[in-house]
Every structure is written in C-alpha cells, then in structure tokens.
C-alpha cells in the first residue's frame, strides 16, 4: 500500500500510544529524525521503550523525552556521553531501565526482527558481562552468544527523499539505522526532505523499498 502522506510531523506520529516500543534512527545528529522526536514529545505518549544508538544528548530530542520520564526503558549501545545528563540523572535515580547492547548486535537484532529470524549466534560479546545470562555456544572453535530479534511498534526515521510509493533513499552516513529500523517496526514513520512521484527514484538505487514504509512527511531540508 502506498504510505500515508502526513501533513505535519505531529500528524505523522499521532498514532503512537502509551507503552509503545519505538525505534529511533540516527547516529549522532546524522539521520536523526529530530522533528518526529519533537512531535513525539508534544503528542504526550509515555511509558515508551526506545531503541536508539545513544540515550539522548544535551537538551533536545530524545534527551527531553528522558528528562520528562516518558521513557521507561532504553535499548542502546552508548548511553554515556559528555552531554547525556538527562539520561545519567534518570538512570542514577533508578527511573529508567537500560538494556545495553553492543552496536553490531543491536543492528543485527533489529535486522533479524525485520527478516523473520527467531534468534542468531553472534561472536560479539562472547565472554563479556553483556553475555551474562544468555545462551552461548562454541561453534567450530569460536564462542557465540544467542541474541534475539528486537521488534517494535513504530520506527521514526529520517531519509533524504521518498517517492509516492514510499521507496526511500538516504544521504551519506545519515543512512545508518534507517533501513533496518524500517523493516523491524509494525509502522515505519519517515521524515524526508521531499516526496517525488513514483518513478522519481531509480529502482536500482532504492535503499528502503516502500513495502516497509507506512507514513511519510515531507519537511523540506537543509541540503
């Protein structure tokens, strides 16, 4: 189905309800869907489980969601940064649950959810604290940890351009988690700079096929 074209970021995230699991794209500021995160802040949904590489920076976006205690749990690889003070405070107060995942396992677990894989053996993390309590196995002499897929209700993603069928292209390292997060969420909500007609993206160059995209909002862009 062609995606819904939302009229605004607020309209795009309107279906996100309390208790949802939300994948949020981006690595640093590159690919971060800032307007969608701000709209999520404004829409009031709380009790969220958020999956992102980090746990918010400074006083914007995800950091504000955490400050307002709207995130009950975060699954991420790198929460501790020089400007992650809102997470730090919530964590030290015991008011946010942290599931720490090596970055590559985080990516592969998201991909597994989208790909219908029930679990996979990864060498990353074997023998470490982050494998404690997890099933392990030595295969051909190498140690592996069994990791499970991360399914989500929603994904918030930033891409460069969509066509009217929801096919997406990204820009440089802003691609990062977007393509896999789109596959792992029941509803993928995407902000783009522009929407072009079907046929406006070469089929050879589509990075995220439209089948994965449910809602698109065009917000213009700085590029």
């Amino acid at each position: 189905m062609a995606p819904r074209i939302a009229t605004s970021a607020a309209d795009a995230v309107a279906q996100i309800t309390d208790g949802s699991t939300v994948l949020i794209g981006g690595f640093g500021n590159a690919g971060q869907p800032m307007e969608l995160i701000d709209a999520l802040m404004e829409c009031g949904a709380t009790d969220l489980t958020v999956v992102n590489n980090n746990a918010g920076q400074a006083d914007a976006g995800l950091a504000l969601l955490i400050k307002e205690r709207r995130v009950k749990k975060i699954i991420c690889s790198f929460p501790r940064q020089s400007d992650s003070w809102h997470f730090d405070e919530a964590y030290r107060a015991g008011e946010i649950e942290l599931e720490l995942v090596p970055q590559g396992n985080l990516a592969e677990r998201i991909r597994a959810a989208g790909a219908g894989i029930g679990g996979f053996f990864t060498p990353t993390g074997y023998g470490t604290l982050l494998a404690e309590g997890k099933e392990t196995r030595v295969i051909d002499g190498r140690g592996y940890v069994l990791e499970s897929p991360i399914h989500a209700d929603f994904a918030l993603i930033k891409a460069l351009r969509a066509d009217s069928f929801g096919n997406l292209v990204y820009r440089k390292t802003a691609r990062n988690f977007g393509p896999i997060m789109a596959t792992a969420a029941a509803q993928a909500i995407v902000q783009v700079d522009e929407i072009v007609p079907a046929g406006g993206i070469d089929p050879e160059n589509v990075i995220t096929p439209g089948i994965y995209v449910d809602t698109v909002v065009a917000l213009g862009g700085s590029n």
Binding site: M1, G116, T183, P203, V206, G210, I211, Y212
Partner: protein, 216 residues
C-alpha cells in the same frame, strides 16, 4: 452464508475470484503456475504491488517483443516488465521481506491441504523422484496470508483437502483460504468453512471430502 452457483468455476474465474479478494494496496506474491494468472484480473484501482522472490517489487506484466530483457525475469524465469515505483534487491533481502511477514498475501498451488491448514506442494515423496523445493517453504510460511488455488480432486477423484497430509509437508498451519473449481474454503480456528460452492451443493461436497465442513 455459503453461496452457490450452478456451474463450476473456470480457471480464469478462479483467478478472478482471487484477484477480487486481494485487498486494495496489498503486496502480493503469486506463485508459479495457476496463481500467476491472478495478475491478469487485478485492476489498476486495486493498487496491488507484485513481489517476485528473485529480487523485485513492482513487477509488471509479462514482457513481449522488444520489452524482453534477460535481466528482468520473474521467479518462473519468464521475462517481465517493471512498473514506476519498482525496486530491486538481492536474494537475502528478498527472502527477509517474505520471512519477515511483510507481504500481505501469497497465492500458491498445492498437492494437498489438511484441515489444520498444513500445506503440501513441494514433493510427491514418490520413489525415485528428485526433490526440489525452491522458494515453496519460504512462501508458505512467509506472507501474512497464504491462499491456495487448485483443483479440489485428483485425477483419481480423491480430495486434496484432507484430514492429515500424506504428502511431505511444505509448511504447517499456513493456509487460510483455498480456491477450487467447485468451492472456496476459508480455514480458521481449526475449522473449514465453505464460502461458496460451484456446480455442487454443500451436501455433495460434504460427501466427497474427508473433513468436517462448516457453513460460512
């Protein structure tokens, strides 16, 4: 309500029924053989997007004449065309799309289906037969809904809808709808509902099929 028409459905009419049942905007994989014919009855209004497991969404009609391109084929290795908004991807991504439950409907042929929705369509199990599976097992369990098109009876007159499979299974509990020339069935809650009969009555069907049938 179980509806009735006096004539058996032709193959085209079966394809037409399947096409009419596909929800608007659905992403659909049509298996090799009879299911491929469904595409001829989809309307532009329906906005259905066709997937082919060899790496494409937005497949168009079969290619003819100068449009034939050996690099643009469907899963049956027939030259096809691409529609605006198409996309290409590699085999792992294509089967991830199927296995991950992203296709709405997949339409397949079958040797047998059990009342629990188990499907057999990949291997007769006959002595000396060379087994080949292709994408059958991925298709069977991948889509949100798996529908089957088949003739209801074998040449020997035996029902292909059975209590338990005697052929090797392709996928367990995956079939939710069966289109045949004499009836359309819906499988849910471990029951077999007869949506319509064609050229036979519900009672005649009951007499020839070894599973308990429910009126829709």
């Amino acid at each position: 309500m179980t509806t009735y028409t006096p004539e058996k459905l032709t193959r085209d009419e079966m394809a037409q029924q399947v096409a009419a049942d596909i929800p608007a905007g659905a992403f659909v994989n049509l298996g090799i053989g009879q299911p491929t014919n469904v595409s001829n009855f989809l309307t532009a209004d329906q906005g259905v997007t066709l997937h082919t497991e060899n790496g494409m969404l937005g497949m168009g009609p079969v290619a003819t004449g100068e449009d034939i391109d050996p690099d643009l084929i469907n899963a049956g290795k027939i030259p096809v065309t691409e529609l605006p908004g198409a996309s290409f991807f590699h085999h792992a991504d294509s089967f991830a799309m199927m296995r991950g439950g992203h296709l709405d409907v997949c339409v397949l042929g079958a040797f047998q289906i059990s009342e629990a929705g188990d499907l057999a369509n990949w291997h007769t199990g006959a002595e000396g037969a060379i087994p080949a599976v292709g994408g059958a097992m991925d298709l069977a369990i991948g889509a949100k809904q798996t529908w089957v098109m088949m003739s209801l009876f074998t040449k020997a007159g035996e029902s292909k809808l059975v209590k338990e499979l005697s052929y090797p299974v392709t996928g367990l509990g995956c079939v939710s709808r069966i289109y045949t020339e004499v009836a359309v069935f819906e499988l849910r809650d471990s029951k077999v509902f007869v949506r319509s009969t064609h050229g036979v009555s519900f009672e005649e069907l009951e007499a020839r099929i070894p599973v308990t049938l429910e009126r829709a």
